[in-house]
């Protein structure tokens, strides 16, 4: 009971013998031990610890809406950003951040990207969410309607006539659409 988050963080900063870890449990039951400053980037975790005085270091916070795969991705991003922040607390090295971010999402499929967006939304990490939605926008920009339907998993509910009519109306918007 004695270790409320405020007192423990101040004690850990004064004596750096052991970094404090926070346990997060994903939907498929895996428990992640996360360094405190990284976990605190997750707004949902931060407010959980700020609002509940009776949580202890042993408390495992359940995150039922986040899969293990998404959690790996999210932690990779948060750890990298924590690293940038630690190295250069004033201004992040912009070039490096951009290089990391580009490499970071290039490996992800559209499905993985969407899963991460949902997780980032749930965990309330506004910076990551902003970044990922930007990536999603880039992926669908100048793509065909069919590609976008597949991307979002939306079914076409127009009749062929309706679709043909609309296509005629916005004909000029369809020039120069990329190959999928």
């Amino acid at each position: 009971m004695s270790s409320s988050i405020a007192s423990s963080s101040s004690s850990s900063s004064s004596s750096s013998k052991k970094e404090k870890k926070i346990s997060l449990k994903t939907s498929d039951g895996e428990v992640f031990e996360v360094e405190e400053p990284v976990a605190m980037q997750l707004e949902i975790v931060r407010s959980f610890f700020a609002d509940n005085e009776d949580v202890t270091e042993q408390t495992v916070m359940p995150l039922p809406n986040v899969s293990t795969a998404a959690m790996h991705g999210i932690l990779e991003y948060c750890r990298a950003h924590e690293e940038f922040r630690r190295r250069m607390p004033e201004a992040a090295p912009e070039e490096e951040v951009r290089a990391f971010e580009a490499g970071y999402v290039d490996r992800k499929s559209n499905e993985e990207l969407k899963e991460m967006i949902l997780a980032a939304n749930y965990l309330n990490i506004s910076k990551l969410l902003d970044f990922l939605t930007g990536v999603a926008a880039k992926r669908i920009e100048n793509k065909s309607v069919e590609y976008v339907r597949a991307f979002f998993g939306v079914e076409n509910d127009f009749t062929p006539e309706e679709e043909a009519n609309l296509r005629r109306e916005y004909e000029w918007a369809f020039e120069g659409v990329d190959e999928d």
């Binding site: 969407k114 926008a137 998993g153 079914e155 076409n156 127009f158 609309l166 296509r167 918007a173 020039e175």
Partner: protein, 627 residues
Amino acid sequence: MKYLPREIVLDILSRLPVTSLLQFKLVCKAWHNLAQDPLLASIHFQRASENNPCLIIHCDHPIRNQLYSVELSDNEEDQRVNKIRVPIFPEFKIIGSCKGLLCLCDYSTRDSLYAYNPFTRKYMELPKSIDETLYDLSVVFGFGFSQTTKEYKVVKVVYWRPPPRDRHPIFRRCCLQSEVQIFTLGKPAWRSLGKIPYHLLDQEPSQVLVNGRLHWSTWPRRYRIGRLLISFDLEDEQFREVPKPGSGSLERLHFDVVGIRGYLAAVIHQNYGQLEIWVMKEYNVKESWIKEYNVATHVSRGLEQADWKSAQPFRNSKFFRKSSFVRVLGLLKNGTVLLEYKCRSLVTYDQKDGTFNDLAFPGMPYWFETVVHEGPSPMNELYIYNPFTCDHLELPGSTLYLDKQQVFGFGFHPCTKEYKVVKIVYYVNALRALSPRENSTVKISEAYILTLQPQGSSSTTSRSIGKFPYTIIRWVESHVFFNGRLHWIFWPLYHDTSKCFQSMSIDLADEQLREVLIPDCHEEIRRENSWSREFYIGDYVPRRLELEPDVDPSFSLSKLYNRRGHVKMLCLLKSGEILMEYKYRVLVSYDPKSGTFKDLSFPGMLNWFETFVHVGSLNWIDTLIDM
């Protein structure tokens, strides 16, 4: 397959160029509606202002009235030119672009003006106001949007001279006559603002709107050195002189006025296409003019290789004649200056290393004029509609902003026999408004009332009834009209310690706000007022919700899906049963006598819906006052 919720889809879409948004209307019906959502338009508009501008390219050679759009993006390969289908206008010139609208002018008469949104292709023709027979007539236009009054305004400065035979021999020289006229979009007529003591220089198609004011330079004056810099405030409609850059020899030079990222800038042309760009860092402070850019002589590839022989007819065109060799269009996100060279090339200039980069896009016309175009400004449109007669009436709309939330109410008062629309506007923190949560702190609020007039009678405009001190809970979406009053539930007032929701009403006859007691489950008040518990409705899950609890992905994009609320009580039926709507999917009637629920289903019933109790009538809107 994962499905993204509505607010995230909106977020992603808001990052796309307008052309992609139009194209994605074809994805499915839900997206078609989403593209018309004013929320999307307002986030999109906000984002667009952080990005590079969209360019509108006007081409009138060899075919007249051609418009194209280009979205400048970081990735040069993504850039392309889209042709815009233009409605049938007479031969036009672009007067300016402001907040999503282009102002076009009939080139031959100078008196037919159009406000036109090139992306939705909606347009409106403005009334005429000039006497075309005036001698030596010339018109200088201005087009802008006032952030304070939220209105688009067109300014027309008309100059003419009395015909030579009417001139008095002594006053032969100072005989220039002028009249300033102003038109507010949505209003019926032009207003005259009287004479103007300055002879403004026409600078279409770039309007310089900085600090809510339009700017022009003047013609050289006869008895004094140099030109003036004149502003017109769109709010108070006054002309003022603005300090111009430099002193001494600089005073004499000719300059163009441009707006650069919200600052007023002056472009001084020197020999061989060299430019100096001065920026006024602090508005209206003469000392704050600073020379920011020096642009060296540059001959763009397009001009070098231009086919001048075939351009012969173009040399007589309206663009070519009036255009200077190089025009400054603005500043891009990466800090480069965007320039147009003699109707032929778009070029970016990087001040850091002094390099020029000729922009070329597939589909670019050969000779053209460029206008920097801001994204469209979303409008909130209101209609009154009788679903049975299909009779409808459009009410004056209002521009939507992220920092503005609106709540509407609608009712008919039996004594005054008038339909009234109530609009409550909250001005809130713009960033908070993006988040779906209801925790934004309200700064200012105001309520407006609009009384419906029969069509044809004079203006339907809303009147303000002053401040509105309550924060209405918007997710309890429908207001209740009862006893001649509209009722809403509002959040507890700040100083109120009871922390429970309360109710208030607006009386449509005397237009007063009153608080209404609501039942309080915790305190004694219940005994003191006339509230009594009539019905108790227990838990119930309709069969359809039990069988298909999952949400169909396309519905997750709907506005209804994102609303809270599980059960909505609709009305009491004649049989004494209560009619309710469950989760926008099932209509249920409840019999309080037996305590039984019955799911109602009709052939042709929709999957997802929102129900309103409506009294059908043949009340035609244009005669509604007589009923």
